[in-house]
């Protein structure tokens, strides 16, 4: 077995048993990155030297009997997390030269628990995108390909495309990611791996470059549900530096993975049955529900009546917050500064931001500025906030009847890099099943459940009550066991 094929849990066991050292494990991943990254483009910064030094330090700690929960595990970090002394770009030219002198709380937590960082991974610019094609550092290629068209290069999903592709291609045991409207779950589903967006407030946002503050939430992607559970436990926790972080104990999520689903009531929202959705996805959904019933769960049809407004609501709230959050990229204090030829301050702003932001980011800044403008605020932003409340209430109502909700993760499998690029609205539809969890602040997990006719992975999504990730993990793990998903992508280390 190639060292990069370990699950995160498997690697922890192998390290504990002395079968492999962190240095060997890390080196194997770095070698794989060296071979495959030129094609996949998952990593924008490879921290080879630091990673090996960190791995050796971890091995030394282990010799001294100091073993953290993630001791020696090589991980990839989405380039939205600020890492002390390591470039952090958010996938944007405007931050292309930015090296933060501080560490995000989530990555600091991972380091505290013994993790080794392999590098920073690619993403849609400022996490705005569903295909990882908006990155200033080039698109990421999905390691999977269609059986009947193996040469078509597919997107890994986004915005955490680099995280998902790196984990799927065995270029990391797991990765950090963030999810504002589906940016963890959609790429996880496209790349045949698991990923969870925890409850809003579960992970600190301190040190994560902000996209839409009321929606952004960090979470892990990994190849198994349990691996996600292990990572999330380290990433999560109250942080006094984030006023929206929840002061609640962090449960043992991995333990919850073995709970089973007997007696759980699983909601099936009728509004998630979309016109024109591929029959395979509908079939997989039914299959997933059947698996859960076979394990002793009860499935209940529920209604989330405001679902159809979720996407438009999301595409008002998120750009509104983004238009404000991205105002700080002005060329004055850090990042790109285009001063050449600038006649005054306003000219400096315009030149810097014109050169620094890509088309999708500019589009969202404009949308966000528009919906907050005098005369439009009530019709757009305020209305969207009201609808957001109604969407939350839909879920509150549902939780009286069910313990978790299961839906498809995405309305399609991974698409080609040249597809869906012409019309932004078509691209936005990727988030149709995932944005509701962000708007309501609920945990949502994507778990690989099968393949489509082309041999591409498809995922199911489990949504749970706020701060009840444990039930989400229990249901996700049950689907994972039943699906017994063993398919692997063509592009992967050790292949």
């Amino acid at each position: 077995m190639h060292p990069t094929d370990f699950s995160l849990r498997g690697a922890l066991d192998a390290l504990a048993e002395g079968i492999i050292s962190s240095e060997e494990l890390t080196r194997a991943h770095l070698d794989a990155i060296g071979r495959l990254n030129p094609r996949i483009n998952a990593y924008v910064t490879v921290m080879a030297e630091q990673a090996l030094a960190a791995a050796r330090a971890s091995d030394e700690r282990r010799r001294q009997g100091i073993v953290g929960p993630l001791e020696g595990l090589p991980l990839a970090i989405k380039d939205l997390f600020c890492t002390d002394g390591v470039p952090t770009t958010a996938g944007s030219r405007i931050l292309g030269n930015f090296v933060p002198p501080y560490e995000s709380t989530v990555t600091a937590n991972l380091l505290r628990d013994g993790a080794v960082f392999l590098g920073k991974v690619n993403m849609d610019e400022f996490a705005m995108g569903s295909s990882n094609t908006t990155s200033a550092f080039g698109p990421v290629e999905n390691p999977w390909s269609r059986a009947n068209d193996p040469d078509a290069r597919l997107v890994p999903g986004g915005s955490s495309g680099g995280s998902a592709a790196a984990v799927a291609a065995r270029l990391a045991l797991g990765a950090t990611a963030t999810d504002t409207g589906g940016s963890i779950r959609q790429p996880a589903a496209f790349c045949g791996i698991a990923g969870i967006k925890p409850t809003y407030g579960r992970c600190s946002r301190f040190g994560i470059v902000a996209f839409a503050s009321s929606l952004d939430q960090a979470g892990p992607v990994a190849r198994t549900v349990e691996d996600c559970a292990i990572l999330l436990r380290s990433m999560a926790g109250f942080d006094p530096k984030d006023a929206t972080s929840a002061d609640l104990p962090v449960p043992d999520f991995a333990a919850a993975c073995t709970r089973g689903v007997k007696g759980l009531r699983i909601g099936v929202p009728k509004e998630y049955r979309l016109d024109g959705m591929p029959a395979e996805i509908e079939a997989l959904w039914q299959q997933g529900l059947e698996w859960l019933r076979a394990e002793g769960a009860e499935t209940v049809e529920i209604s989330l009546p405001h679902t159809k407004y979720a996407l438009p609501t999301y595409y008002i709230v998120a750009p509104a917050e983004a238009s404000s959050n991205l105002a700080r990229y002005d060329g004055v204090r850090f990042g790109l500064r285009v001063a050449e030829g600038a006649s005054d301050l306003r000219d400096l702003y315009e030149r810097t931001r014109a050169a620094g932001f890509g088309a999708e980011v500019k589009r969202r800044i404009m949308i966000g500025t528009y919906v907050l403008s005098a005369g439009y605020y009530d019709a757009y932003y305020l209305k969207a906030q009201k609808v957001r409340t109604l969407i939350r209430r839909d879920f509150d109502e549902a939780w009286r009847k069910v313990d978790a909700i299961v839906t498809p993760a995405t309305p399609s499998a991974a698409f080609g890099m040249d597809e869906k690029q012409d019309d932004p609205v078509t691209m936005y539809l990727n988030d149709v099943f995932t944005v509701t969890a962000n708007l309501a602040g609920l945990p949502g997990l994507a778990v690989p459940a099968g393949l489509d006719r082309q041999g591409l992975p498809l995922g199911l999504q489990v949504i749970g009550r706020a701060f009840d990730e444990e039930t989400v993990f229990a249901v996700g793990a049950a689907i994972e066991r039943a699906a017994d998903f063993r398919a692997v992508p063509g592009l992967r280390a050790g292949a």
Partner: protein, 484 residues
């Protein structure tokens, strides 16, 4: 009712004035970061990554700043809102690192209140407070450091401000001045704002309109960032006169933001309504609503110091001072504290006379402040005691006081050193009287012949002979006896 009017060509005009005051909160750390707030530090030395708007930084509310806003609200007799919320006010400027200011737009921490102002003629008037909200200050742009570049100092970026908005209740420059004076006084008593207008910790935006007496409101203009009480009064008048001229020439006053040119004493346009920013306010998603515990607010209320109005009333009631003296002595918390130390267990009116007379004169002369006076309050009290027990005459006391100003020593020490103790020994006085009468036999004869006025001459001669130390009452008494 104010009868202040500006007489125009076409008749009298009434002024309508409201103030938006920005008061820097006294706190060790900034509103949303742990960076220090001391004035006068080297540029960009009190800046956290939060204040500089770095990626991934998040605001966390400073509890002490919230307490200061609540104290101020309570001091303004205002409603404290147990639920308030922060909003973002979006605009681009080089000294605004985040590209937005975190403020409270829709739901301020303090609602309606009122302050009573005192006018020079002794009348009082109530000015309504519309609201008080918390917000962060911007940094400072320095445009005079380089021929083509502006420098940015972010020390002030993120410092907590209270914006206190009044109702348009003022009707004259004097009322505007009295209101700002009172606001400053209350905050200084509370210890919530130092009120240093020179250092920019208190600034006012002045809203002015004019109207015919009895008419509804006309269009107002806002004069931004006026930084002294005197300038506020001047700006009100200058702006009112400008508007009157516009109206009287058949024009229309346009709503706009103006600046007061202190050199020329006129206001000039900064930006028109059309150029006004669209601030795109929306709820600050990085901060949950600010929810206060009612018991916490009550604890702050219970711990409030005595405020100027209450203290002034007490001086009139308990000390028997005139309203004017009471107002002078309570204008500054430090003055009142000084006075109370002097007055404690002594004649309060005598204490007031000494503080307002000799001490204030000494402060002026020595350019010292009441916080750092040349004569300690305890020493001035001791001086009053020496007068009361007869050790010092009034005249000697003045002399001792001057020595206290010069040396900082206690009156007891000065009396001992200089032998200024008043002589009450009747034997010594009799000897001095005898000597004087013997040396002025002719004057004694004239006195006895009916020239009563010479009595003062004898007193003067005796005091002179005793180097001023004779007890005046005793000298009088002995003289009267000897002269028959």
């Amino acid at each position: 009712m104010s009868t202040y009017r500006i007489e125009g060509r076409t008749g009298p005009w009434e002024l309508v004035i409201g103030l938006e005051v920005h008061a820097q909160v006294i706190s060790n750390a900034k509103l949303f970061s742990g960076a220090a707030t001391a004035f006068g530090a080297e540029p960009n030395t009190q800046v956290s990554f939060i204040d500089a708007g770095f990626p991934g930084m998040l605001p966390v509310i400073n509890r002490e700043c919230v307490a200061q806003a609540v104290r101020t609200g309570l001091g303004l007799n205002a409603q404290v809102n147990l639920w308030s919320r922060f909003d973002r006010k979006n605009y681009f400027y080089a000294d605004l690192p985040q590209g937005y200011q975190i403020s409270q737009y829709a739901h301020p921490i303090v609602g309606k209140g009122a302050v009573e102002i005192e006018l020079p003629d002794g009348a009082t008037k109530t000015i309504g407070i519309t609201r008080l909200h918390l917000e962060q200050d911007a940094g400072k742009s320095l445009h005079d450091q380089h021929p083509t570049k502006s420098f940015i100092d972010l020390n002030r970026s993120g410092v907590a401000l209270m914006e206190i908005v009044s109702e348009p209740d003022m009707r004259s420059p004097e009322e505007a001045g009295a209101y700002l004076t009172k606001l400053r006084q209350i905050m200084r008593y509370l210890g919530t704002c130092d009120g240093n207008m020179d250092e920019g910790s208190l600034r006012a935006d002045v809203n002015v309109s004019v109207r015919r007496p009895g008419e509804g409101y006309r269009t107002r203009c806002e004069v931004k960032n006026v930084n002294s009480i005197r300038f506020v009064m001047q700006a009100v008048e200058a702006e009112a006169r400008r508007q009157i001229e516009v109206w009287e020439e058949g024009g229309t006053v346009e709503q706009e933001t103006r600046l007061f040119d202190t050199g020329r004493g006129v206001t000039r346009s900064m930006r028109s309504k059309e150029e006004a920013h669209d601030y795109r306010y929306f709820p600050e998603p990085d901060l949950p609503p600010l929810v206060l515990d009612a018991a916490w607010v009550e604890a702050l209320r219970a711990a409030l110091p005595e405020l100027p109005d209450a203290r002034r009333a007490r001086y009139v009631r308990d000390y028997g001072l005139s309203p004017y003296d009471a107002q002078v002595l309570t204008a500054e918390k430090a003055t009142a504290a000084y006075y109370e130390t002097v007055a404690k267990g002594r004649d309060p009116k005598l204490a007031a006379n000494w503080v307002m007379g000799d001490l204030f004169a000494a402060l002026n002369r020595t350019r010292r402040t009441i916080e750092d006076p040349p004569v300690k309050a305890e020493h001035l009290g001791a001086l009053l005691d020496l007068m009361k027990d007869g050790t010092l005459s009034g005249k000697l006391a003045k002399e001792v006081f001057e020595a206290m100003v010069d040396t900082g020593k206690s009156p007891g020490a000065i009396v001992e050193e200089r032998g200024l103790r008043q002589v009450t020994d009747s034997g010594a006085i009799e000897r001095a009287v005898d000597t004087v009468l013997a040396a002025n036999a002719d004057k004694v004869a004239e006195y006895k012949a009916g020239k009563d006025k010479l009595f003062g001459f004898f007193v003067g001669q005796v005091m002179k002979a005793m180097q001023g130390k004779g007890n005046p009452a005793l000298v009088n008494q002995v003289l009267k006896t000897k002269l028959g």
